[in-house]
Amino acid sequence: MTTEAIHHDVNETHDAHDHGDHKPTGFLDRWLFTTNHKDIGTLYLVFSLTMFMIGGAMAMIIRAELFMPGLQLVEPDFFNQMTTMHALIMVFGAVMPAWVGFANWLVPMMIGAPDMALPRMNNWSFWILPFAFTMLLSTLFMDSGGPAAGWTLYPPLVLQTGTSFAFVVFAVHMMGVSSIMGSINIIATIFNMRAPGMRLLRMPMFVWTWLITAFLLIAVMPVLAGAVTMLLTDHFFSTNFFNAAGGGDPVMFQHIFWFFGHPEVYIMILPAFGVVSEILPTFSRKPLFGYGSMVYATATIAFLSFIVWAHHMFTVGMPLQAELFFMYATMLISVPTGVKVFNWVATMWQGSMTFETPMLFAIGFVVLFTIGGLSGLMLAITAADFQYHDTYFVVAHFHYVLVPGAVFALMAATYYWLPKFTGNMYSEKWGKIHFWLSAIFVNVLFFPQHYLGLAGMPRRIPDYSPQFADFNMVSSIGGFAFGATQLIFVGIVWHCAFRSKVKATPKVWEGSRGLEWTLDSPPAYHSFNTPPEVTCNALSRAD
């Protein structure tokens, strides 16, 4: 079937009681009680952008205090609350919900399903989040202040947290429940709701990476829930899981936490791999290179993510054999990750490229994620890690994979699919300005942190010796500028949604392929009520 044929089939009203655009009317009916995957996707995305701004404001406080040596703005304890909350909010409030938002919007449209498999649970998965984060943020206004032990919540330090402790644990439980339900829904949708002909190995890469991500979430969010539950009983019910004074084992917490925590970093980056694998072929006008090996590489990365956790804790004093095992396993991850990067370059090679904003962010992702990946390879080397560990080198590394990594991919995805979602084109000029300012300042912000870490500056300190002053100032200036640049992004999204006069075509991009581009822009409120017939040439991959 041709693209045109699918287009007509799904957008025409062809049944008396089945109006594709039948939206609930009242505000509460539309948003609070919604079971529509597109509305829930929008809610997730708006929520995550809000959290990105709040978490970003905390980062501004951190960088302002670190602008010069000496304490100028905040007390050390408040500084620690900022680093802790910044991480919790960015990880659980900004990046993860943003990916779930895109999954909600795109997975049904990409596999030709009318909606998510379990729409009511979908509503609940989202509406837990605002309550969880209100509770988490409220701890900042409590007498004892918010959590200040780092997002890793290491005992025994975290057990010194005051009133806020129970609130933090409960908030983490709620985020976990939300993520688990969201992932169950995504897996149930992908396994059961695909249109005829949408075989697993024909699915778009974004669907594949999310399927694997959802399995990671189901496997590890309960582990985090278990870890914080044990912290809770240690704190309030005098158990001694992790409390050394009572015979507990603080290192066991770290093992459990990182058994969650390492897959967690792939939870944030795998959907980004998916997005980049969608965007590069579109703007190179050439099929994704090595679709099959991309799928297997993603699965391999997911598998390896379960056996490398202890590389986060090389300095706790493990037996030599364990250190060697975790070093080798971690180094191995660079093989499938390398395959991905090489395949992306091969996708661009001999293409017919144009450089609209999504493409710019995708290319920025490939370059800067590669830098973050290479510093990750350095960190895998146990003996060298005895120097790197817990320094700004680590801070630089994980911000490179998270900011110009995951966040750039989120920006790319926004520019790529926002015309589809809203029916309007964003301003290409402002999109490009946003990209170039972001790309420049993200490097001014994070690259000097490599130097600081190697020169000996530990992470999570509010004040430092004057020998680190120059590059901290450079980094802070980059931070302020990067933060301000993201306000442009908010303006662009707002303009695209409400003000833009330029209408988007169904296909939006010349080179776009996949079922979502066969729908109108914006798609009908209920799309694919009748499953489309899936044929090779409508797909983003070549058979």
Binding site: A117, N192, I218, V223, F241, I256
Partner: protein, 43 residues
């Protein structure tokens, strides 16, 4: 879209999806219980 407006095809797919969801939910709870349980027994 209300339940009644679903096509039979989608209704069947959703019924299957509910089963998938139960299996995954039970797996999640089992992982939670296993980790806490082994921490209790391990001590």
């Amino acid at each position: 879209m209300t339940d009644k407006q679903q096509s039979d095809d989608i209704r069947i797919k959703r019924a299957q999806a509910v089963k998938t969801a139960w299996v995954l939910g039970i797996i999640a709870v089992a992982i939670f219980a296993t980790f806490i349980g082994s921490a209790v027994i391990g001590r």
